[in-house]
């Protein structure tokens, strides 16, 4: 038997290369290329009055300087608004180089090209831009009042206003025995891939062709966007994502200004040009996420069952909306988690501010939604004096309810309809893992020793694997080597391993023979990109379908050659053989030769194939009319809707009674993404997600001052957690298959980070005895909250979780 590959926790095949310096990232390419650098706005909001480049002209090695007025045609027009939406009534995008106005610190104004980056920066330093500063809008409170405007023609700073309602919320609230109000806030953070963005473009003057390398999450998207901007035929533009050192969402937005400008200038100058983003640039001119203010009104019965959920929130979309309003739409829909909300109304305003724009960051609006819902669940439990897990369980959608249609539209414009999941089972596993019922005892002992501890929980459902489609192409060479290609890109997810496992399993070949290429438009021109936990679901299934085609063709050819029925054949370890008579066999390589009737015998495999040739039938063409040469398969997977993964996390935290320092003692995850292609990779994704979640919960924030300067735009002051801050993560899994796709799988990429802020807030509230309503939280903030609590400004929890306090 071929080793079972699907589900095997094998080590990632790309890691030896990546961890020994063998990776080739954007900056490893194009050593001889000219370098681009940018003069960026030092103001959050200003008119550009004048640009004087005179002093820069005598910098040695300078090649060219460009401002907006130098940009021809569509290059000088605003960047595309990628995802329009009817409620996005006032979408705005930036110019690749600012035209008359800048709307955040870091917006590019002038591009300099020079022999190397140092010289380009020297020239930048000598360019004088005259600005007429305008009053900036910083923070959601300022944006919401609408006194000052980011864009003159956008009243109230409202980019989008959206409302979805299922049932009659007012009536349901009026009829609810209990009603609670919550005011919540989440601050900004950011993806922070260790490799920033970067683009390297080569103009081939002999062929009038442009090759672009970009550190992107969508090479097909960049290719199409650049071709459109430059007015070039698609056939003359190719785009390749090399090794990419992390994306987490920020590299799915495209084209970034630099992704248009660098290819354009390479074409204009007829040469090769490169730009690699530095850390400060990444902080002030890429994208952030998460910032929201939320108001929740919830009505429930005496048992804690939801009757009405009324949510309003204000979403900070930064200065522009190139990626539409995907993030707040996800918040407003995924907020519901595993629960039946009763009547549900969600209204949001997506607001402009003079800060870095906001595009999806791992979780993409879900961490905020989960925070709102889970804080609400804890509040209900406290109000009624019930165990927090009991309140959740009473509101769960049950396995028998699947598929469960919420009656809302999801981010892909399709119904929000859960396909699978067993939430009660997930909760039971989590309670067992963390020892939920034993915590009261643990707490009693800790408190006797003068320690303060708390237990928190958070549940979520994640729509993963959104369409429209991905493709897979598989070709078997005469050597037996299996080339696999899919168009979406990789940023470290382990695609070279997971996709190879799918092919090895489906085709019956040794994994060593399988070679996976991603993100190269020369190999697979049809693709969408890597985001929304979609790679395994979309490309995994497309590749499986393509492999099934190859398998069917291999069996057909071999059956013909071996003169047996295809049904009697199997493929094991790359060899097609007769079931029960394994000596009657031929290798897949030989099948590959036979599939491609050449005139010439190049090698032994080709000669070997001749023994199976049954003489030429003069009445039949060498390649049958309904056939193609080659042992190849290409297929696409395009689902009708997203598939929904879920998970639940619990944490035990300790807070220092004096200094308010916060330590995570235990962090437990139960996760259900259906059958796992590679459990080790899934766990790695979960660990990485939790690490980012811990960052968002306890360490990271974007500290803007009132003038719109980002005060912590470096790794010195933006506190990404180190390994020393990330707790040991305990995991357990359920594998509830999705009925929607051939492999039954659901996405896992974002899961880890979604509930972390909710879980930590829950645990700290439990430790402290008052509700935490704003995240992230630092020791000094907790310390201040304690003082306000002691002064009576913050109410105590009513029941301080009666059940996790009293030992059973």
């Amino acid at each position: 038997m071929t080793t079972q590959m699907f589900g095997a926790p094998i080590r990632r095949r790309e890691d030896p290369r990546l961890v020994t310096g063998g990776g080739r990232y954007l900056d490893d390419l194009g050593r001889g290329a000219l370098a681009a650098a940018f003069v960026r706005s030092p103001h959050a909001h200003a008119k550009v009055v004048d640009i004087d480049v005179t002093d820069a002209l005598d910098v040695d090695g300078l090649v060219a300087i460009y401002t907006h007025e130098d940009l021809p045609g569509r290059v000088g027009e605003p960047l595309p608004l990628l995802i329009p939406h009817p409620t996005l009534t006032h979408g705005r995008t930036q110019y690749a180089l600012a035209k008359d106005e800048v709307n955040h610190v870091g917006e590019p104004v002038v591009m300099v090209v020079a022999r190397d980056r140092y010289l380009a920066e020297d020239a930048c330093a000598r360019i004088r831009v005259d600005y007429q500063p305008l009053p900036p809008v910083v923070g959601l409170e300022a944006a919401r009042t609408g006194d000052l405007l980011v864009h003159e023609d956008v009243p109230g700073n409202v980019a989008a206003h959206m409302l979805q309602e299922v049932g009659d919320v007012e009536a349901a609230l009026a009829a609810s025995p209990h009603v609670l109000d919550l005011d919540l806030a989440i601050e900004r953070s950011a993806c922070m891939p260790l490799e920033g963005k970067g683009v390297y473009a080569r103009w081939d003057a002999d062929r009038d062709e442009l090759r672009i390398y970009s550190s992107t999450q969508t090479s097909t998207g960049v290719r199409a966007a650049v071709a459109a901007k430059l007015g070039m035929p698609l056939a003359k533009v190719e785009c390749i994502a090399p090794d990419v050192g992390g994306g987490f969402g920020v590299k799915i937005n495209h084209p970034w200004p630099e992704e248009v400008l660098v290819p354009w200038v390479a074409k204009t100058l007829g040469t090769e040009v490169k730009w690699v983003e530095d850390r400060r640039e990444h902080f002030i001119s890429s994208a952030h996420e998460r910032g929201q203010l939320q108001q929740v009104r919830v009505g429930f019965d005496d048992d804690g069952r939801l009757l009405a959920l009324d949510v309003r929130f204000w979403h900070d979309n930064g200065a522009y909306t190139p990626y539409g309003i995907i993030v707040p739409i996800i918040t407003s829909t995924q907020l519901l988690g595993p629960y039946k909300p009763g009547a549900y109304r969600c209204e949001f305003w997506s607001l402009y501010t003079n800060t870095v724009l906001v595009t999806p960051y791992r979780g993409a609006g879900r961490p905020q939604g989960c925070f709102a819902m889970e804080r609400t669940m804890d509040a209900i439990a406290d109000e009624l004096g019930l165990d927090r897990t009991e309140v959740r369980a009473r509101n769960f959608i049950l396995p028998a309810d699947m598929p469960y249609d919420h009656g809302l539209l999801f981010q892909d414009g399709r119904p929000l309809k859960y396909d699978s999941g067993d939430f009660p089972a997930t909760l039971e596993k989590l309670k067992a893992l963390v020892g939920w019922d034993d915590f009261a005892q643990y707490r009693m002992e800790a408190e006797a020793a003068g320690r303060r501890v708390g237990l928190g929980i958070g549940c979520y459902v994640e729509g993963t694997g959104v369409g429209p489609y991905e493709g897979g192409h598989i070709q078997v060479e005469t050597s037996g080597r299996v080339n696999v290609s899919t168009g979406l890109t990789s940023q470290g997810q382990g695609h070279e391993t997971a996709f190879a496992q799918v092919v090895a399993q489906e085709l019956g070949v040794p994994i060593e023979d399988v070679f996976v290429t991603t993100g190269d438009t020369r190999r697979m021109p049809y693709a969408v990109g890597t985001f929304a936990s979609r790679a395994a679901v979309m490309s995994g299934n497309a590749i499986a379908l393509a492999a099934r085609q190859v398998r069917a063709k291999a069996l057909r050819i071999a059956a013909d050659a071996l003169e047996v029925a295809a049904d009697d054949l199997e493929i094991v370890d790359g060899v097609v053989r007769v079931k029960g008579a394994p000596d009657t066999q031929m290798s897949l390589g030989t099948v590959s030769v036979m599939s491609n009737p050449l005139r010439y015998a190049f090698d032994e495999a080709a000669q070997a194939a001749t023994q199976f040739a049954h003489g030429n039938d003069p009445d039949r063409p060498p390649v049958a009319e309904d056939d193609e040469p080659g042992l190849e398969g290409r297929d696409f997977y395009s689902p009708t809707q997203a598939t929904f993964a879920n998970g639940m996390h619990a944490a035990i935290v300790e807070t220092d009674p004096v200094t308010a320092e916060i330590r995570i003692l235990r962090y437990c995850v139960v996760h259900d993404c259906g059958p796992m292609i590679n459990p080790m990779i899934v766990e790695g994704q979960v660990h990485g997600g939790v690490a980012q979640g811990v960052g968002g919960a306890l360490y990271e924030r974007m500290v803007y001052d009132e003038s719109g300067q980002l005060l912590n735009a470096s790794f010195m002051d933006f506190l990404m957690p180190y390994a020393s801050e990330v707790p040991h993560i305990e995991t357990d899994h359920l594998e509830t298959p999705s009925p929607l796709n051939p492999l039954g799988i659901k996405g896992a990429g974002e899961a880890g980070c979604i509930p972390v802020s909710a879980v930590i807030a829950s645990a700290i509230s439990d430790a402290e005895g008052f509700a935490i309503t704003s995240m992230p939280i630092s020791p000094v903030e907790l310390w201040e909250l304690r003082r306000r609590h002691e002064a009576g400004e913050i109410p105590s929890l009513r029941n301080h979780d009666a059940t996790t306090r009293k030992p059973r």
Binding site: A125, D278, T659, M716, L719, E725, V780
Partner: protein, 294 residues
């Protein structure tokens, strides 16, 4: 994130180095481990026209323990100070503190002398130099001199070193056998600059405290000594209520608000840590005497 142009000088001897500094020091910077200077250059927060790279200068990497001091040459990396057993035997405090300076990779490159010359009020090593009453040894084309630490630190990132001068080493005097030491700090993340840190030296003679001194990290402008003996003199270590020192401590501190913590929080942390390290240092003193008696 790319430095402005500069001329790189790579002297081989102290004489050459000070000769170059005499010429370009006013418009130049000494480059030692680069762990503070390089980020500053990369962000163009400073653009000196000359870098005098002392990494190849011979004779600057001596780490020696004498009868009364640990002497650290200008090219001794933090990591070497941390791991040297002889140094640890003579002054356990140095290892205890230097472990809080950044992370191993930075300690492999950054120098202790560079740290002291950089004079960041958030740096640990300046505070130890202050607590031990240390001295900075300086060379220049004009001659050699020694600057005691209380004259050396003038303000945040400001020292008595002249632009043409090279710090060739520092001496951390050793405490007597009756003195114990301790250090503690709190940072947002492991290895970060501290929100507050405190070093203590407590002498115990005949079973009672005879002297108690503190120095602070991140909560004063300039590292200096706070003598809290008056709050605990003559008391047995196990019976002392260290909060008697709080008023002295608060008066000594000059914490500031920043994006990581408020001044008030830092002051609270510093007083709490002071209790902790005073108690530990007193215990250390008693233990050391127990050891030597045994």
């Amino acid at each position: 994130m790319k430095p402005a142009p500069f001329v790189h000088h790579a002297p081989r001897t102290v004489e050459e180095a000070v000769e170059v500094l005499a010429r370009v020091g006013h418009d130049g910077k000494v480059l030692a481990g680069g762990q503070s200077l390089i980020p500053i250059l990369n962000m163009r927060l400073a653009s000196p026209a000359h870098l005098v790279d002392v990494n190849a200068v011979s004779g600057l990497d001596d780490l020696t323990v004498t009868a009364d001091a640990v002497r650290v040459g200008a090219l001794v990396r933090h990591a070497r100070l941390e791991h040297d057993q002889v140094v640890y035997g003579a002054s356990p405090l140095l290892r205890r503190v230097v472990r809080h300076v950044a992370h191993p990779v930075i300690r492999n490159r950054g120098t202790t002398v560079g740290s002291i010359v950089h004079a960041d009020p958030a740096g640990e090593m300046p505070a130890v130099l202050a607590l031990t009453g240390g001295v900075v040894e300086v060379a220049s084309a004009r001659g050699a001199r020694e600057i005691p630490c209380h004259d050396f630190f003038l303000g945040p990132m400001e020292t008595a070193l002249e632009p043409d001068e090279l710090a060739v080493g520092v001496r951390f005097p050793l405490f007597g056998a009756t003195t114990g030491t301790a250090f503690a700090e709190r940072a947002r993340r492991h290895g970060d600059y501290a929100l507050a840190g405190v070093a203590a030296a407590v002498a115990v003679e005949d079973g009672v405290v005879s002297s108690a001194r503190l120095s602070f990290v991140s909560v004063t402008d300039v590292p200096g000594i706070l003598d809290v003996t008056e709050a605990c003199r003559g008391q047995a270590p196990g019976e002392i209520d260290w909060s008697a020192c709080d008023d002295l401590v608060r008066e000594h501190l000059a914490p500031e608000d920043d994006i990581h913590a408020t001044a008030e929080y830092r002051a609270m942390l510093a007083t709490q840590l002071a209790h902790l390290v005073l108690a530990e240092a007193a215990t250390d003193a008693v233990a050391a005497q127990g050891d030597s008696a045994a």
